[in-house]
Amino acid sequence: MNLTAEEQALRAGECGPAAQWAIEHQIKVGDYLGARDFVPVTQAHIMADTESLGEAGVKWLEGLARLPAHERRVRIPTITDPRGTDFAAAHRLKQQPWMLELERRAIAALEALGVLMTNTCINYQTIMAPLAGEHVAYGDTGVVIYCNSVCGARSNFEGGPSALAAALTARTPRYGYHLDERRRATLLIDVGFTPRELNEWGALGALVGRLAGDYWQVPALVGIERVPASDEIKHFGAALASYGSVALFHIAGMTPEARRLDDVLPAGANVPSHEIGAADVRAFAASYARAIDSVDVVVFSAPQLSLFEMAQVAALVEGRQARIPLLVVTSPQVKGDADRMGLTARIETAGGTVLAGMCFYQSYAREMAEANGWRRLATNSAKLVNIIGGYGYRPVLMSMPACIDAACNGGRIAP
């Protein structure tokens, strides 16, 4: 990679060992992926839950945190993805003291680096959405795909170490979705069905993700009949990123880089095309419901719920009582508003548990399953059903109202 004088100084250790490690790491990554140089970034977003970090990762962060203050601080605004617990509710999830201790150590280390502990995967709805053309280093697939596609910002998937490296150097290798030529559509999806429920948007995202298949594919959708709401496109993008490892999509006439399809897919371009209809979406949901007539737990999470979703849950549980655990996971920012507006109280009066600053699958899901006897899980998140099977759960994808019905019927799923 071509390095500026400043980057050479970072590499030589003139700004301390943290920045030196960071730029060496970035050069390794950039060389592998064909980056010619670096691009300055304005924000970083770090995924660093302790289930992923483990003891080794926390010790590694603590090593950076022990450096002198002037050598360890991040150089751009840097925020965090959800953590592995909500300390206020950990006992209700039967999380173990060692998990909480590891979380406390990770938080202390990240704070010592100057990281802002926002603990959210919906920063584009709650903290500060990036602008079109803004280069950022984001570290949650749902965040990246939303900000690339809906905001027109420019980021690759930046895992925790690389997002931290970007925070320490204020730059990232210029490859992938920082480049104009990578942002053009590589496949065309003709959608014959505009979803209504969030789980249907997620199912559509999952189907497109399966067709796309890998990180370097950029689907362009035609046929969506109305501009989706932020929560709808949030579920669509999160599932697309999860099933396909996809970081950018376009919807003709709706997303900013595809005001016309020609903008991202020149007329006559020869790319694979596919059709997806209502029957495909229904079949996808059905594939996760085979032979399950009841569930042990209902989870709304992945992504964290917006204020509007919190209001929807509160309205749906009004006057009812959950008879199995009903977990409603949101960001610390939304939680404050939900408390103030009485939404949290309405959900918890109905037997739900509102959790903040965590995400279900990032919170020792396997250990929670064993401690609580949870095996069968209902959710309206297609992303969660994709992930949670690996942790030993049998997930069912249903609408938010159907999930609430199941929670209030003792877990029984209406036929």
Binding site: K28, Y32, S52, A56, W60, G159, Y215, W216
Partner: protein, 137 residues
């Protein structure tokens, strides 16, 4: 077939040898693995139930989210880790995770590498060569 060599577009990490574990399926440490037991745990993964410890994984594409960037480092610290990862298509997360963990990885072939390498054969993976390669021993 013994001696067959397949060159990759890019490689990282040290030269290793091991028994290949091959499938036309994806890889994500979070989605697919029970990292405590060292087995593929995702029920619909083609390698479900198989141990990955010390094996050279030959798979199709990097999948899933960002967690693998930390998890390879964590797996290495406990010694419950594959010997190497060989993929048709990589994503940045695998590269970032391999860079942090000093893990051996190859990606990008001019054929489907999951069809070219037979399951359970002994292979050598050399990312340090001028043209990184995987060779059947």
């Amino acid at each position: 077939m013994s001696g067959e060599t397949f060159f990759a577009v890019a490689g990282m990490g040290a030269k290793v040898r091991g028994v290949a574990l091959v499938a036309k399926d994806g890889f994500s440490a979070r989605y697919d693995l029970d990292r405590v037991r060292g087995v593929f745990s995702r029920a619909d993964h083609k390698l479900a139930g198989e141990s990955y410890v010390g094996r050279v994984l030959v798979l199709d594409a990097a999948k899933g989210g960002v967690a693998t960037a930390w998890m390879l480092h964590e797996m290495r610290a406990r010694g419950v880790i594959p010997a190497a990862l060989v993929l048709n298509a990589v994503n940045p997360i695998m590269v970032q995770g391999a860079a942090l963990a000093d893990f051996t990885m190859l990606s990008g072939f001019d054929l489907d590498i999951t069809q070219a390498i037979a399951n359970s054969v002994m292979v050598e993976v050399d990312p340090t060569a001028s043209r990184p390669f995987i060779r059947v021993l």
